[in-house]
Symmetry: none
Subunit: 526 residues, 2 copies
Amino acid sequence: MDLHGAFHVYDTTLRDGAQQEGLNLSVADKLSIARQLDDLGVGYIEGGWPGSNPKDTEFFRRAGQELELRHAKLAAFGATRRAGVRAADDPLVAALRDSGAGVVTLVAKSHDRHVELALRTTLEENLAMVCDTVTHLREEGQTVFLDAEHFFDGYRGNRAYALEVLRTAAEAGAEVVALCDTNGGMLPDWVSDVVLDVIESTGARVGIHAHNDSGCAVANSLAAVAAGATHVQGCINGYGERTGNADLVTVVANLELKLDRNVLPPGLLRDATRIAHAVAEVTNVPPASRQPYVGTSAFAHKAGLHASAIKVDPNLYQHMDPVGVGNDMRLLVSDMAGRASIELKGRELGYDLSDDRELVTRVTARVKEMEQNGHTFEAADASFELLLAEEVEGTRPSYFDVESWRVITETRPDGEAISEATVKLRAEGVRYVVTGEGNGPVNALDAALREAIGQAFPEVAKFELIDYKVRILDQGHGTDAITRVLIETTDGESSWVTVGVGANVIEASWGALVDGLTFGLRRHHR
Amino acid sequence: MDLHGAFHVYDTTLRDGAQQEGLNLSVADKLSIARQLDDLGVGYIEGGWPGSNPKDTEFFRRAGQELELRHAKLAAFGATRRAGVRAADDPLVAALRDSGAGVVTLVAKSHDRHVELALRTTLEENLAMVCDTVTHLREEGQTVFLDAEHFFDGYRGNRAYALEVLRTAAEAGAEVVALCDTNGGMLPDWVSDVVLDVIESTGARVGIHAHNDSGCAVANSLAAVAAGATHVQGCINGYGERTGNADLVTVVANLELKLDRNVLPPGLLRDATRIAHAVAEVTNVPPASRQPYVGTSAFAHKAGLHASAIKVDPNLYQHMDPVGVGNDMRLLVSDMAGRASIELKGRELGYDLSDDRELVTRVTARVKEMEQNGHTFEAADASFELLLAEEVEGTRPSYFDVESWRVITETRPDGEAISEATVKLRAEGVRYVVTGEGNGPVNALDAALREAIGQAFPEVAKFELIDYKVRILDQGHGTDAITRVLIETTDGESSWVTVGVGANVIEASWGALVDGLTFGLRRHHR
């Protein structure tokens, strides 16, 4: 069944997903995630609530200038007008209308008790708010979706009123009424019954917005679709408040690969694993290895007993071909999977390794050993390319020899802290001793290192460190654990990521800094 | 409906859960987890495969001597006899019979292709293996459950044969035939159809064993129960191979609290949160904060908009009372926080702020201002409590005055980096100058700070830093950005989280360290 177009895959990572405890997204983060979601081919990206806070307003402003979406439309989320004013006079409604998104997802109360207790207005006025706001936005040329908040609880308490809210919105021109299991406690059979009743009673186009509080967010979404819903909301990696929203990739993969519904543009689901992990890098929430479809363990087998049968027919041991979501079968006792991906990655970087089995074996072994020690090459292509170059060419690319480095951070009399680094190195036959200052130890080391090398290689002046990420790998030991640092460097034209690892965070950062400069110099000297 | 007794809650954490990548359980770990599972009131604890490896054999030996189970029975897991021998002559069958458990869960192939490819025998011999092994164990006084491996895939490929395996086992005396979704790709409606057919076609008592590869393990288990299954297998915390097994607590909580089936002894579910976390301590797998029912975020709310309504009726905002699973509602103090949520949060921490409007206004304003500067109090309850104490009591709780600090990180001749910190401070009228070493600058500062303060307050010796998190807030500026540090400190009994912010990561860490020690000292001095 080809539903793509007639079916909405609606992502709310940037709005509802951002409600997750500990998750804080800058405007740059949101823009970066929106690009990834567009690569996945979702139909709608809910960007936030313009007018409710400066960050979301800024997001929509910059999105209009900077985002070039190929598949998705942006949606602005916001509430119906306040009680007692006209929608046309409500500045928050105006902010939705003027966001530039073109699609407005209006959240409305459909649970009578919430209208009275949280909204503090009458049931009649709430209906008027829905009708008036939808009508106004439609007249202004907006597409309108309605998010019926607390719908399932409201339906249980006062079915007639909950349905009346939907009917009012649909009659005023809302294209979809999304039923929100805001508190997240529904089970699939219940969702199914309610969706069937809503469609029969209102004739409206129905959407589903599920949370995972009963561990059934995915199944509830599927149950709604089976009952006739044609609009599914969710978040990448299942981000969201409390137990999270429905994991959009899992829902979509089930629809596409198991239920034969084509809800994304063809072929894009094959990037799901890469995209899910790339978003996790931006949010800095460690990806769950057991995540369905895209988790690093999702197709990992302790082969043991069944290794020979797996070789004969891997599909006897997996529920689908992991290629469909861009993941890989991993045999935890063998290095078969490793070799193949090293070869592939080499090809990606311009090295044809297919003729040199011994080289591939050597690189695979080194990658395995280094990943065991905490490195990751998946995000750090530049460090991987340096390793590959070292194995192919026999020596590691190098443009300078470091003698020693030191960095001091101390409080100043005014209470602020300052960092000062001294780097001693040789480049092009000259010894440099340079001291740099910075507002942190790595910042100071970076300044000293680039100043020293810049005297031998002036092109370094163009290099700039644009991102710095730290992850503690061995939770439970505090500052005493292994630290992984990822650094992104740019030369103004492109950027590259390097990785460093160490018990000492400064040592790890130093490794990533040196790789970053080496990679940049190598690129300019080839 | 009271099913307890007539319904089996069957835990397989110690066998199938232990297949999880990176999870390794010693015999002592397994005994400890078995005690926790018994506290939860599960009916059966599958302990492992005696005879297949020395560790599992040892587990059953020690369990017989050391475990005093009040609710659960132990089950030994193992395969049907080998092809071509009598069950009575197979040493692996003997190991099951003699494990002392009294219950044997026999795994049998029910998928024709697996019989031929993995077992390498005929379909007829496989049936004979099932019949002979079940018969022998029943004659020897064992209760027998059958795990029909790859059942759902087998049913799809050769329904008649898959059903024949079940019929054979039931006729030979197996009490339950558990349908295993070994590859984990099923969806709830499919499970429901198959279970209905199995019950109608065989008359056997049916169990379900679900994996989470399609994100539906919980829903699949519930679908099976709705279709007539009366035996549910799962693992605590959803441990297991690939994406894990059905999370047993989530399944049971849904059955008990939402579907009104009493499947555990009365009252025991109220310990679920404690037990799930205690098991996570043993496995050393960090608990997922978003886990349904028992996760630390499962009942956490970014109150903001709705705080006033939450005060009136918390049940408007949660799908069930968290007390039912031993969890708590938590209000997160965030930049969306208004006065009402500050008041509620204060109450949670033991401060009644309802009479002092001016104080609440002041605290709200400070929280907002500090969150604008990069603080987050959402995860850092201890820093929030210090701020609250400062506003309530007029001065910030303080046990020492810092004069200055300095930390140096440098390369040693062998290439490794070492950090050394010097801290100067006054406590209890005495000036301390202490130098500490560490494998990173924060580690060294922590060592120096705790040694200095420990001389004035010996209880500091019990404090330990157990988690350290860094987040760069303003992406796009690399090491030049604002840094937020979260630190978790423990005194061996409980733990608390503090936050520090600064342009300099070391300065941010210092703030969080000082708050962490201050909070701990305050708790011990009240």
